[in-house]
Amino acid sequence: MNAMLNSRRTLLLVLMVVVMVGGQWAVPGFTNADQLANQLKIATFLGLFGISQTLVMIAGGQGLDLSVGAAATLGGIVGAAVIGAGSAGLPLALVAAALCGAVVGVINGCGITVFRVPPLVMTLAMASLVDGGLIVWSSLLHVNTAASATLVALAGRSVAGVPTVAVLWLVAGTLVWWFLDRSAWGRRLMATGANPTAALLTGARVRVVRIAAYTASAVIAALTGVLLVGYVGQAFLGLGSGYVLTSVVVAVIGGVSLGGGRGDYVAVAIAAVFITVLTSLLTALQIGEAGRQCIFGATLLVFLAVNGWSMGRRAVAA
């Protein structure tokens, strides 16, 4: 198991380096400090959404959270509104956003566990509901959507050349890694995802674990939304929608199994950086959307092939 984990991490690191080296050769200045910092910022957001997907995918049952974009938009808009409304500032905004995310997540979790709605469908419907609700709200109420000065500063600042948001990501990532690998919670999550019946019969509260996973996913997405507002400068509808499917792809490339019960966040994080760097390279090469879409699709396919090849070599035991 360890060997396989390490090989996935190594593979992704190598690919990332290849793209960066290739990028520098094709587009000089691609890897200078400013560019890298920028890309790291973009990768941060992808990586944070990747946490959401990792958690729900490990929870099992073809777990997927297609509402992370909507939850992020919700969190961002609510957060900006709260900051604008009073002088309570950032902490209150974060709490408000987290609460909104929690509501979305709990509804997702209940629909999936109690009503047995497939995650794909449930989170999709939820996303549609939240997005629609936000459209209504923004047409009825006119709230502050500008990012507060603190937020912008937070998103813009750097510590020794490393963007602050990336440091936040590092902290979050470490917590996630600890959660999955070194805590009983993480094992309970893996057990629930890998075989919910066996988990139930050994005393796991399967429903609670799954609902918790979806709640965590939505809360993280909502908080990421607040951060996004700082980065973009403004809260607007569709803030998070571009990240949804990409975050799923990042999780899958990072080796998280859609079937549940298996996943390593470190690999997912590296995958997030890899995808970001690849996308930047394509943009820098001024390849049109047509080309970008094709290359994205082809890369994913190539990666799936590699995935399958390395899995096939391993899954030989009787």
Partner: protein
């Protein structure tokens, strides 16, 4: 002797009526999954009829059918794949691609209507083969693999038609708007697709398709090549996708690379509303068609009820959630 003990405990006449009940149960259970979708359809149709007094007039039905035809066909395509136990997230992009082929080929090559349609069909079937090979032969996760191919089809559509434009052969648009007596020609592709499916269900391929969705392992152990079944399943589905693209192109008369994108997730939603299990092997095409009709008619309801456009997205989402809730409560088993 002892095995028959339980049987002999029941009186003969009870046995006979039990057999009749068993027969009815068999037919009912085969299509039971479609029931919630059917009920939803009846509700939505009643709402439509209530809000739109001339709903059942020939004109209104005809125009509704024209709008519904592509949705029904793409939903049928998705249903084939879902019954097979897989998924296809590239159908929407595929519709865009075929649409752009229909719009671009005449000006690019100067071919006539028939040749253009054949070219478009070839592209659709090739896409189906591609997906089928990836999922069937290379055993990739359908969700991710078709997401990837969807990006490629979208890229292809953009290559052909970077900006909306082009011209779909006019003949198609004319035929699509025609009516033969009471029957709008728009219904023909739908009826043809459904007839094809019904025939295939009497053929061993159709049953093997469902069996593969039910348990690919069991089918493989029975000596059937599941890879071929999956490949042919995808090809069949993309035949329906071609039909959907044909209908849309006939209506819009031009090509637009972004046209088909919403159809993907709508097709999945419709399939689920229609009671087809995403796990594979369970569900009926009738259910899928009901699900598609429900989605189309909801749009009508929202429009005719005068719900402000701001609320439309919410309303649709809420109705879909409600439909799903009903489906799952009544099914009361994992989908």
């Amino acid at each position: 002797m002892k095995a028959g003990l339980t049987e002999r405990l029941h009186a003969p006449h009870e046995q006979r009526s039990r057999r009749v009940r068993q027969g009815i149960n068999a037919i009912a259970s085969r299509n039971a999954s479609a029931l919630p979708g059917l009920v939803m359809l009846l509700i939505v149709v009643s709402c439509n009829a209530f809000l739109q007094p001339d709903f059942f007039s020939a004109d209104s039905l005809s125009s509704n059918l024209q709008n519904a035809a592509p949705v029904i066909l793409v939903c049928m395509a998705q249903a084939v794949i879902v019954l097979l136990g897989e998924l296809d997230l590239s159908v929407g992009a595929g519709i865009s691609l075929v649409n752009c082929v229909l719009a671009a080929v005449p000006s690019l090559t100067g071919w006539g209507t028939a040749a253009t349609c054949v070219a478009a069909l070839a592209v659709a079937l090739a896409a189906g083969v591609c997906n089928g090979v990836l999922v069937g032969y290379f055993r990739q996760s359908a969700l991710i693999a078709t997401f990837a191919t969807g990006a490629i089809w979208f890229g292809g559509a953009l290559l052909l038609m970077p900006q909306p434009g082009g011209a779909v052969p006019e003949v198609l648009g004319e035929w699509f708007a025609m009516r033969v007596g009471v029957l709008p020609l728009a219904a023909v592709p739908v009826i043809a697709a459904w007839a094809l499916w019904a025939v295939l269900q009497r053929h061993r391929f159709g049953r093997r398709l469902i069996a593969t969705g039910s348990s690919a392992d069991a089918v493989f152990k029975s000596g059937v090549d599941t890879r071929v079944v999956k490949l042919l399943g995808y090809v069949l589905a993309w035949l329906f996708v071609f039909g959907a693209a044909l209908c849309i192109s006939a209506q819009t008369s031009s090509g637009d690379a972004r046209l088909g994108l919403p159809y993907t997730l709508n097709s999945v939603a419709a399939v689920v509303i229609g009671g087809v299990s995403l796990a594979g092997g369970r569900g009926s095409m009738i259910g899928a068609i009901c699900g598609a009709l429900v989605l189309v008619l909801i749009g009508n309801v929202v429009y005719f009820a005068g719900i402000p456009s701001n609320y439309q997205e919410v309303f649709k989402g809420a109705v879909i959630l409600l439909a799903l809730g009903c489906t799952f409560i009544s099914a009361r088993k994992p989908v």
